[in-house]
């Protein structure tokens, strides 16, 4: 193969060995999660004995997950001892912008969840509706476009209005699916 760097390593290219420190953190978190699940599973009611207990498979899955997490930690420690390392993923540099985006999306969803209103206008026999989803989405999209596209405010706003209007029309009138908010 001409470009050895492109050699395939699995269906998901990014999956595989991480830096040993990251694998260790993951294994500790997974052990904690699986221990918690095991405790919860044991505490579940058993209306018809052990064989049909609702906590049976969750317990088995959590126990085996715990073993896998320990194996992951062992691999990580062995690789650490051998001085093997994998660089941090490229997008670690963009972590600040990622956090900003995640927070923004969180606020967007919370706003749709909390604010709920709808207005309707009748144009002849057609009833046009617009609600909190459209308004919140236009504001949110304008901010995201401003931050990541970097165009002028009026351009970002125009794109937002056109896109959200299009989406709302398709879902509300073509597929008759209610919108959130």
């Amino acid at each position: 193969m001409a470009e050895d760097s492109k050699i395939f390593a699995g269906e998901e290219e990014s999956a595989g060995f991480a830096a040993p420190a990251l694998d260790l953190i993951a294994s500790v978190a997974l052990v904690a999660l699986s221990v918690w699940v095991m405790i919860e599973a044991i505490g579940m009611r058993r209306p018809a004995g052990l064989t049909t207990a609702p906590g049976l498979l969750p317990f088995v899955v959590a126990a085996s997950l715990c073993l896998m997490a320990i194996a992951l930690a062992v691999f990580a420690l062995r690789r650490r001892r051998l001085g093997l390392s994998i660089g941090m993923p490229e997008d670690m540099a963009a972590v600040g912008r990622t956090v900003f985006l995640v927070v923004l999306i969180g606020i967007y969803i919370a706003a749709i969840h909390v604010l709920s209103f709808e207005y309707a206008v009748s144009l002849g026999e057609t009833r046009l509706e617009a609600g909190s989803f459209e308004l919140i989405s236009i504001v949110f999209l304008t901010i995201v476009l401003l931050a990541f596209w970097g165009a002028a405010l009026w351009q970002c706003f125009l794109v937002s209005v056109v896109w959200i209007g299009f989406l709302a029309a398709v879902f509300r009138y073509v597929f008759v699916i209610p919108l959130p908010g």
Partner: protein, 498 residues
């Protein structure tokens, strides 16, 4: 029934819907960063408002179109639109730089067309056989089959480190346990919240993992600047394809078989076929490999498109999605009360024939639409990522909400996106999570039912269930193979390795 299904798929309305799906799929697949699975996941919500036949035609059109679409950006801007287009990028862009971009794209289109045919024909041939076999499966076999699906998917998704694939699958199973248990209605991991009694919807997980995660991951990375190479005249080199017929048939078989393995999708298919093609190519052709070989394009494109038919095999016959895109299709079908699996022919007579017909129509339309859409795609490549990706965020929100008209699903989607991002940073694969979420309820119910039936019986009786014993053996074998694969890797100091 067969003729009815074909006639239905050929009705002008459904042909138009399929054409819309294929066109959207081609454009979507061509845009770097937008994957086939992402398209399929986002469209589940939209399909909720469609009739069953319309939803199927549309989604199969998108599936067919987007797998090919990746080749366009791969050849013209040296960025694979979808990960399976990397081999096409290596060869196609080298040809494009020599002024043969149009011919390379023509070859990719023709190869995709052939690949789809191979996949569809093998699907039609094998489904009745698998269905006949699958009808014999009882609780014990269904439990083992579910575990096998998650295990194989985990093993294939993280080739270097299958352990991480299995962990992802197991996390997916844990997510699926939230809610009332199906047998005794005992609440599990609901924290006293009534909203969680209904369980976690896997469509929301799918949209979060493959839609929102991609946006969170890719958008903050900044712009990719790539100037499209001149396309030139797009020639469908049918005569040239005839020269590579042997490679095409071989790649089609590889693509279909790989597609039928849960977790192994178009990426494995195209890379494996590309590699096998290189080894088997005559000396003259082998020398061109990596520098612009038409045969290499045929190998990769036939395989990744044949994969579509292959992925439908376990999805329709066993209810185990062949890949994440097929899982999305399953989700769309579930919205129309269609549960796929061994009894599909009994529960939904004629549906399988309609799916065959819809795939054939989508393939024929893909051939035509691909030629028409290459130039508009070149224009789309000039649009910045910072403009395109934010537009998908509201689609993710609507998609998650539309399934059950429930804001909880939107929050689940958001949570899945954050989980997906964190798992990506820790280099865990995401597809096994989806398989875990889908298959865990099946595994849970069937394990308990079979244990109840086995109560008081000897271990000899359990082992005398031969199909189950074979499946159990295969599950153990996959774990052993995965462990051996990691152990065989020779550690290199300062580099990657186990």
């Amino acid at each position: 029934m067969i003729i009815d299904s074909i006639l239905q798929a050929l009705s002008p309305y459904l042909v138009l819907v399929t054409l819309a799906g294929v066109s959207l799929g081609i454009v979507w697949g061509a845009l770097p960063g937008l994957s086939t699975t992402m398209a399929m996941a986002l469209l589940i919500g939209l399909s909720a408002g469609m009739e069953q036949a319309t939803a199927l035609s549309f989604m199969l059109g998108v599936y067919t179109g987007s797998v090919f679409g990746g080749a366009i950006s791969a050849v013209l801007i040296n960025i694979p639109g979808t990960p399976d287009a990397v081999p096409t990028m290596i060869e196609g862009h080298a040809l494009a730089k020599r002024g043969e971009g149009g011919r390379a794209l023509g070859m990719a289109i023709a190869a995709s067309f052939v690949g789809n045919w191979v996949g569809i024909l093998l699907l039609i041939f094998f489904i009745p056989l698998i269905l006949q076999f699958a009808l014999e499966f009882r609780s014990w076999e269904m439990f083992l089959l579910s575990i096998l699906g998650i295990t194989v998917c985990g093993s294939m998704a993280a080739g270097q480190m299958p352990l991480k694939g299995w962990i992802s699958g197991w996390i997916g199973m844990l997510i699926a346990f939230v809610g009332l248990d199906a047998m005794h209605a005992v609440p599990r991991f609901t924290f006293g919240s009534l909203a969680l009694y209904d369980g976690i919807n896997y469509v929301a997980i799918l949209i979060g993992l493959f839609g929102m995660t991609e946006i969170i991951r890719v958008l903050p990375q900044g712009e990719m600047h790539a100037l499209p190479t001149a396309v030139g005249r797009i020639v469908p080199p049918i005569r040239m394809l005839g020269r590579y017929l042997k490679a095409a048939v071989r790649s089609g078989l590889i693509g279909t078989v790989i597609g039928a393995i849960p977790g192994a999708g178009a990426n494995v298919a195209s890379f494996l076929s590309y590699d096998i093609g290189r080894r088997r190519a005559p000396k003259v052709e082998k020398d061109k490999w990596g520098k612009g070989s038409y045969e290499a394009i045929v190998c990769a494109e036939v395989a990744n498109n044949a994969n579509i038919g292959g992925s439908m095999l376990p999805t329709l016959a066993l209810g185990i999605p062949g890949n994440a895109a097929a899982a999305a299709l399953m989700g769309a079908l579930a919205l129309h009360n269609v549960v796929v699996g061994p009894t599909i022919e009994v529960d939904h007579p004629g549906l399988i024939y309609f799916i065959y017909a819809a795939l054939i129509v989508a393939n024929i339309l893909m051939y035509g639409a691909a030629f028409a859409l290459i130039k508009p795609c070149v224009w789309l490549f000039s649009l910045p990522r910072g403009l395109l990706m934010p537009l998908i965020i509201p689609v993710c929100v609507i998609g998650a909400f539309a399934v059950r008209l429930n804001m909880l699903d939107v929050w689940v989607m958001f949570g899945a996106a954050i989980l997906g991002y964190v798992l990506h940073l820790f280099r865990f694969p995401l597809a096994p999570i989806v398989l875990g979420v889908i298959l865990a309820p099946l595994a849970d119910e069937n394990l308990r039912r079979s244990l109840f039936l086995f109560e008081g019986r000897t271990i000899g009786y359990v082992l005398s269930q031969y199909v189950g014993t074979v499946l159990l053996f295969v599950v153990i074998l996959i774990f052993v193979e995965g462990v051996l694969r990691v152990r065989k890797r020779k550690p290199k100091s300062g580099g990657q390795g186990a």
